[in-house]
Symmetry: C2
Subunit: 468 residues, 2 copies
C-alpha cells in the first residue's frame, strides 16, 4: 500500500497533477489530492505512465549483440546459430539483462520468444523464468519451437533442394510445450507461458494445430514470427501455394490473443485477415532496419483498425533492449511512408500503442496498459529533471521523440517496486555486469562457415549478383 | 601532457591494446607499451576513438524539443518560428546543453547552424561562442542567414502567390557575417565561423555570391541546407528552372570545404555534381524521419565516392543531440533501401564517417578524425564495463548497433579533458539543469495560427486532400 503524490499523468492531450493510491497491487484511487496511505512517494517533477510491453524479444541473443555483421535475416540466422551453444546459467544472465534494460526504459512486461538449448529445453525455460521472477518483471515466455530445420527457411527457387529433417519430432516439441505449461505457467504470479511456434517458415501444420489446441485448453496467448522478410513471402507461396497469413487463418492460429512479430510483407488481403481476427502486430523497427527486412506498413495497419505493439526483438538484431528507442523509431519511421502527416503517429498515440496496445495483444487490456482505478499497478515514474528531458516542454513529446537517458526513477509491477532511484531493487546490478563481463571476451566480426554454406544459394534465389 | 595506458583502439577490423602519449594537444606516440609522460590515465576495459562531428545542428531549438507536433518541414518551420523569441541568455544555455549532449555521446566538434535573434544577431553569435568556449567543445558556428521571407520556402504552384520581402537586405546580412568573422573566427582556439546561408529556397544569388567571396577571403567552411524535402525540389524548378544543386554549382558554392545538410531529394545528375566538387553530405537521419522528409540515398552517395558525415539536426526535429543515436539510425536505415547487403554500412565504416567524414567536410582531415601520431587530440574514451556494452563482443559493433547509455568516460578536445568520469569538467551540470528548468514550463502540443495560415496552401501544392 503506497501513495504517489503530486505526480503528472496524461489526461487526454493535457496533463494533470494528481495523487495515486496503490492497494494490494492495484490502482485504488486517483485524485488531485488524497490522504497518504502507506508509504508516500514524492511525484513532484515526475511523470507517471503505464508500463510498456517489450512485445517481442529473444533474451539469449544478448550474448551475441554487437557481433553479427550486417546481414539479412536468413544469413544472420546462420551466423547466430553457428555460435557456441549457451548454458542455462547464461540463459539466466541474459534474461536478467533483458529484464533490467526493459525496466530501465519504461517496460514492465517482456515477451520472450525464448531460443531453447537443444537437449536442455526445459532447463532453458526454467532459467529464464527464474531470472524474471527474481528481478520482478512480468513475463510472457514462449518457448521457440519448430519442427523443420533452419535451412528450410530459405526458398528453394528452382534448385530442387532437399532439407534435413529437424532434430526432434512434432510430438516431442508439443510434449515439451505441455511440460513447460505444467511447470511454469503461473499467470497470477506474473509468469505466463505462450504457445509460440517460430513461424510459418519452419513449422508444420501439425505443430500449429497442436499449439492452437494447447492454447485453447490452457487459455494461453499465441505468438509467432510472420512475414519478416521478402524471402519468407516467396517461401510461403513455394511451400503452400498461398500467403502465410492465409495459412495461419486456415489453421485457426489467428485470434485476439495472437501477437505476430514483424508483419513486414503483408498484402491488402492479409491485412484484412489480421483485422477480421483481431490479431496484434508487433512492430520491431530497429531489427527490421538492421536486418534490412523492410518497413512494416504500420500506418496501414492502424487505418485498418489492427492493434499494434512495439518490440525490441532479440539483442543480436537491434542490438539493445531499449523500449523507448523502439517506440521512437517505430513512431517516426513511418512518416517517410506517407506524405500526409495527418496519418502520422503522435507521441501520445505511441505511448498508448506501447502500453495498452501491448496489453491488448496479450489479452490483458482490462488489467494493464493504462492508469485507471482497478487496473493492476504496472507503472513507471519518469524523472523530468533529467537533462535529456529539459527544458520543460511536452513531457510525452520529450519522452517519445527525444533520446531519454536514465530517466526512469521507479518501476512497479503488480504494485511491487522493482526499480527505485534508477536501480533494480531485487538484484545486484554490479554483480550482473561482472558475470556478463567474465563470461565473454572481446571479439571481432567474422564470417562463419555457416554463412558461407548458404550465401551462394541465398543470393541466387533473391536474384542478387553472385558474390565475389 | 598525459598518457592513456592499456587502452583498446581499432586497427583495421581488429583491436589492439596500446598506450598513447598526448603532448601539447597532439597525439605524440602510440605503441603497445610506453613510458608514462605526465598524468597516467587507466585505459583498461576502455575503448579510445577519434571524436565524432555533430555535423549539423541548430542549438537554440533545444528550447522547443518535444513540443512540435508531427509535421512536415514546411509546417514545422511555421510552428518553430511562431514560438516566443529567445534572449541571448537562452542561446547561451541551449548551446551549453547542445555541447554537453554532443560530448557525452562521443562528439568533440559541433556544427551549429545558428538561428539568429532578429535585431540581436551578433549577440546571438557571441552567446553561443561563449558557451562553446566555456564547455570546451570545438565549434563551427554558421550564422543562419537568408534574404527571403520564410513563406518563400513553399512552392507557389499555380496560385501566383507573392511573398513579403525579408526584414533585412542582402547587404545587411553579409555585413553581419563580416562582423561575426571579425569578432569570433579563431580557428586555432577551436571556434570557426562558417559561411552558412540557410539554403537555396530562401537565399538570393547575391547572398550566395557574397558568402562565397567571404569564405574564399577568410578560408571559411561553407554550409547550407540542401533539398531536404520534396517541396524544396519542386520549389527549385519553380524559382530557377533548374535543380538546386545545379544552381549551387553555378554560384560556385560547392567545394571540398562545403557541407550540405540533408540531401534527400537529389537526382543522378545532382549526385555527379556533388562528387565532381568533392562536397560533403551531412546525413541527419532522425530529423529526416521525424519530419517525413524521406530517406537520403546515402548508399548511392558512398558508391559515387561522396564524403558523408552525420548530424543530429536541431533538437526540435530530432528531438535530441545524441550523436551515437544519429550514427546508429543513419547506418541501419539504409539497409531497407538495397537488398544487397554487401552495400550496407558496417559499424567500423559508420565510425569513420562520423569522425573522419565529419572532419573532411570541415577541411580538417589532416588534423582530426583518426588516431594517428601528429593529429590533434580530439579523443573519446568509452567505458566498456557499462551494462549497455556488455557482454563483451565487438566493441564498435556494440557502440554503433546497440543503445549505449552513459558510456563516455572522458573526452579531450585539443588535448584538454573536457569530460572526466562522465561529467563536464568546466561547467556545473546541475546548474545548467536548474537554468533550463527554471526558464521553461510544461506545455502541450498545440497548433499555432502560423501553421493554420500556411496549411491549406501547403496541402494544395503538395496535392494532399483538403484538411477538415
Amino acid at each position: 500500500m503506497f501513495t504517489i503524490q503530486n505526480v503528472l499523468i496524461p489526461v487526454g492531450q493535457e496533463y494533470q497533477a494528481v495523487s495515486v493510491h496503490i492497494v494490494e497491487g492495484r490502482i485504488a484511487a486517483i485524485a488531485p489530492t488524497l490522504d497518504i496511505l502507506g508509504t508516500a512517494i514524492d511525484g513532484r517533477n515526475k511523470l507517471l505512465l503505464p508500463g510498456f510491453v517489450n512485445a517481442h524479444t529473444h533474451s539469449s541473443e544478448m550474448w551475441q549483440r554487437g557481433m553479427i555483421p550486417p546481414y539479412p535475416l536468413e544469413l544472420w540466422l546462420a551466423e547466430l546459430y553457428d555460435s557456441t551453444p549457451l548454458d542455462p546459467e547464461q540463459i539466466y544472465l541474459s534474461a536478467l539483462g533483458t529484464a533490467v534494460e526493459t525496466l530501465l526504459t519504461g517496460g514492465t512486461t517482456v515477451v520472450d520468444h525464448l531460443v531453447l538449448i537443444p537437449g536442455r529445453e526445459l532447463e532453458t525455460v526454467a532459467a529464464a523464468v527464474q531470472a524474471y521472477k527474481e528481478v520482478g518483471i512480468r513475463a510472457f515466455v514462449g518457448p521457440l519451437i519448430q519442427d523443420e530445420s533452419l535451412e528450410s527457411g530459405i526458398p528453394c527457387g528452382d534448385t530442387g533442394r532437399k532439407h534435413q529433417p529437424y532434430l526432434r519430432s512434432t510430438e516431442a516439441m508439443l510434449e515439451l510445450l505441455r511440460e513447460a505449461i505444467s511447470q511454469f505457467h503461473r499467470p497470477t504470479e506474473g509468469i505466463s507461458i505462450m504457445a509460440a511456434p517460430t513461424g510459418t517458415q519452419l513449422c508444420s501444420d501439425a505443430l500449429f494445430e497442436g499449439c492452437v489446441e494447447l492454447s485453447d485448453r490452457h487459455d494461453l496467448c499465441r505468438h509467432a514470427h510472420l512475414l519478416e522478410t521478402k524471402a519468407q513471402k516467396l517461401l510461403a507461396y513455394e511451400q503452400y501455394g498461398c500467403s502465410a497469413v492465409e495459412r495461419l487463418k486456415r489453421l485457426e492460429f489467428l485470434s485476439p490473443q495472437t501477437s505476430l512479430a514483424h508483419c513486414v510483407w503483408l498484402d491488402e488481403h492479409d491485412i484484412d485477415l489480421l483485422g477480421d481476427t483481431h490479431s496484434t502486430v508487433v512492430h520491431n523497427p530497429l531489427s527490421n532496419l538492421r536486418l534490412g527486412s523492410g518497413i512494416a506498413p504500420i500506418l496501414k495497419y492502424r487505418q485498418a483498425g489492427i492493434n499494434v505493439a512495439f518490440g525490441c526483438d532479440g539483442a543480436a538484431s537491434n542490438d539493445s533492449q531499449d523500449v523507448l528507442e523502439a517506440i521512437k523509431i517505430g513512431t517516426i519511421l513511418h512518416n517517410v511512408t506517407d506524405l500526409d502527416y495527418t496519418n502520422w503517429i503522435t507521441p501520445h498515440q505511441a505511448i498508448e500503442l506501447a502500453s495498452l496496445g501491448g496489453a491488448t495483444g496479450l489479452g490483458m487490456a482490462s488489467e494493464l496498459g493504462s492508469i485507471e482505478v482497478g487496473k493492476q499497478a504496472d507503472l513507471v515514474l519518469y524523472d523530468l529533471m533529467n537533462l535529456s528531458l529539459l527544458p520543460r516542454t511536452d513531457p510525452i513529446g520529450l519522452l517519445v521523440l527525444g533520446r531519454p537517458t536514465q530517466v526512469v526513477d521507479s518501476v512497479w509491477v503488480k504494485g511491487d517496486r522493482v526499480i527505485a532511484e534508477g536501480k533494480p531493487t531485487r538484484i545486484n546490478l554490479d554483480e550482473l555486469r561482472s558475470q556478463l563481463f567474465n563470461r565473454s571476451q572481446w571479439s571481432v566480426n567474422r564470417k562463419s562457415n555457416a554463412v558461407q554454406q548458404v550465401e551462394d544459394h541465398y543470393r541466387a534465389v533473391m536474384q542478387l549478383p553472385a558474390s565475389e
